[in-house]
Amino acid sequence: MSTCIIGKGLPRVDAVPKVTGAAQYTVDLKMPGLLVGKILRSPHAHARIKSIDTSAAEQLKGVLAVITAKDVPDGLFSFYQWLADKNILCGETVRYIGDEVAAVAAVDDDTAEEAVSLIKVDYELLPAVFDVHAALEPGAPLVHDDKESNSTWSVERLFGDPDKALAECDFVVEGTYVTHAQAHTCLETSNCIAKWDEKDRLTIWTNAQAPHTQRQEVARILGIPRRNVRVINSYMGGGFGSKLVMDVKLPIASVLSRLTGRPVRIVNTRSEEFTTGKTRYPYTMSLKTGAMKDGRIVVRDLTVIGDAGAYHDKGPATINFSSMMFGTLYDVPNIRFQAQMVYTNKEMGTAFRGFGNPQLTFATESQLDELAHKMGIDPLDLRLRNSNCSMGTTSCGAEICGCAMTECMEAASEAIEWSQKKARPSDGTLRGVGLANMVHTGGGGRFYGYNSAEAFIKLSDEGTVTLITSALDMGQGSHTTMAQIAAEELGVSLSDINVLSHDTELTPYDLGSWGSRATFMDGNAVQAAARDARAALAEAAAEMLEADPADIVIEESKVWVKGSSEKHDLFEIVDHAVNAHGIPISGTGQFVDKLPEGYTIPTAFAKNIPCFSFGTQAVEVEVDPETGQVRVLRVVAAHETGTTINQTMSEGQIEGSIAQGIGFALMERLVRQEGKVQNDRFLDYKIPNIGDMPEIETILVESVGTKGPFGAKGIGEPGLVPTAPAIANAVFDAIGVRFHELPITRDMVLEALKETR
């Protein structure tokens, strides 16, 4: 396919406003009468609220409202409403350190802070539970005392006969793998402004990855009609899953605004972001893998205990997604997946780039190396023998259309010089190489029971193309991707396109930017809209140029009749159509991802995924025996893009993912004592800085078969999925020690080295 705009590493359409400081983020907005909202949070991990005295706060000059549970709707909220378990403000019980208890609106920050400090709450402490295993013990304190146990959600998936396969296979390895809470640490913290208008409609400005579903969530919890809520996004300072589900600061700000008649802003401090902004779900995974002598993996059996924290949020959806990826990787015929999410008195988890898959892949891909070791074969070889194939349905029902797993493995292992490095004699330095594969969604999911997107395009006579899409850009670059797709299909220059995605009043209903979904879903809708607009344009041009519409060529904002050398400016045609004939030029596009035959939500399993994406990362590490530090020297990341829409941005997604993967593997963990986060600042919770990064080589592997726009797949999440197990495998290669827990800290390495000496 010859393309003008697809595939090129063109600069992002929003780069200039971002580099000049002109880009306004939600936290930059100003409006008349804006008040500062602040939340009083629980200092206790588990306690009963005996009384709250707000009188001193109310009397403070500059305070306009003080609210507690009695001032807010008392319904409960969760992502799945039928699992609702979270109050807007806690009335009777607080369940983690940070739980929302009361809130104030005041004229400025200082006053709001002082007012919060003047609220007196009398608590009766309750026994708390912080560890999932303790939480499952009979007689453990109940995080929600109306529930029978702390086990909140369980999933069981069975394909084939794992027990029989385990008994019959030639090799079995088993082990338990543990991951901990990782924080998203978007540089812009979660924040919002809420304001009611004279028609009783509520507008919320916030940094949301899914403004339409958050609009519904706000309406649901406040008990107001959905049509009365509007959500407006601005530029967003990162998302990574943290801004997918509504945060209760939205309804809190809304109630404060209602009471004061003024707009109210609430902004998380960095400490609040660390302690209440939600995390990646910690998993404890007991896994068995069995293989035959020929290297064929025949069975995998996994039990997961996930730490939900104090409330459900995205826990059930996360664990479900993990099961789908578990079933699909390597197409193992006998699979058992058993999982439960468990309440503890801690900050809850939520979606985080990779959505339960990085945890899972740490277990499966670490164990694959253990298996290779036991079998005495090269881990790369074992993987090649089990590679997913490009077409067809897996044992668990996943429909694979387009898969370049083998190509990814070959590219990554070659670039890291796998065989040379594996054969390298020890030179005294503790160096090693490791690799890991992954499968992930490259197009969101059908988890809602549907998956669709819509887009609109209008061409104006003054020379702009306005693209209205719901592909929210949280930094990953979807505005540019959508603009490129529209520009390519329509035949206009990229710079002629103006993308709007920020306002639920304007954009079509959409499930949001998550799960590497936007390129595949919204991209398809945008392509359809552009095709539609192009047809209208060709009609108008044909009329003006007295030609057949089929002979009209449109490229880079020029229009001509095939064979003719006379080129017209595209907007001249639009101008003519609009102003001489009154014919508007626009396009509408929809993409409805058709559900497979017999689809039902409970049985769909891996059929929920419209498009799978595969990838391999190979890394080289060096371990410092003195300090225990694992230094990642080099990462080669070969990931499938289907068709690359934007080379530079795809690389950027993978590089950024790898940085988060290195953090997950080696550095990042929220440390708690009695439920209290000890590292609620960047000084103590380290994320990779510029000096921590290895050399990264990104290989974008194109493949055919997917139904994405121009054949593209989403690339937002995959890059983080295999990084940690690749590092753990390289560490094993370097020092012969297998770590079953992340992050692999210096202390762990030193301890392990001591034991081996």
Binding site: P11, A15, K18, D28, G238, E651, Q660, N689, I690
Partner: protein, 160 residues
């Protein structure tokens, strides 16, 4: 307690009445409306709030507004002139060193200061110079490339 403050920001003189406890970051963002400078932590740990004070990079969240009295402040808004991007900005755009952009103003200002001080830094010096600026999106690969490209662009400018 409020005190008079005479401060030059991006070449404009401002005469303000500012509480002595307030930070330069707050005054830039709230009083002068220069929201290009970002607050990522408010504690000197992320670099998003970096501005140049008499040419030296400072974390404006840790700098009291009154410390900038009588001095020259340069923020991201003052870097491009007449619609032409500064070479550091051009390099960040062309290399794809920007994703969400929230760290970008701080990164760009730190880079400018680094290259002003040392027009020909080694890779190690670049890494050392940008250590205090956190980015959660890019993995820094393209940021390093952007600094190196900016270095070349500035060197070319010198020649003309």
């Amino acid at each position: 307690m409020k005190q008079e403050l005479l401060i030059t920001v991006n070449g404009d003189e401002h005469h303000l009445l500012v509480d002595t406890r307030r930070t330069l970051l707050d005054v830039l963002r709230d009083d002068l409306g220069l929201t290009g400078t970002k607050n990522g932590c408010g504690a000197g740990e992320c670099g998003a709030c970096t501005v140049l004070l008499d040419g030296e990079p400072v974390n404006s969240c840790l700098t009291l507004a009154h410390e900038a009295a009588g001095r020259d402040v340069l923020t991201i808004e003052g870097l491009s002139s007449g619609g032409v991007l500064h070479p550091v900005q051009q390099a960040f755009v062309s290399q794809g060193a920007i994703q969400c952009g929230f760290c970008t103003p701080g990164m760009v200002m730190t880079t400018k200061a680094l290259l002003d001080r040392n027009p020909d830094p080694t890779r190690e010096e670049i890494l050392a110079g940008l250590r205090g600026n956190l980015c959660r999106c890019t993995g820094y690969v393209k940021i390093v490339e952007a600094v190196e490209v900016a270095q070349c662009l500035l060197a070319e400018e010198e020649l003309v």
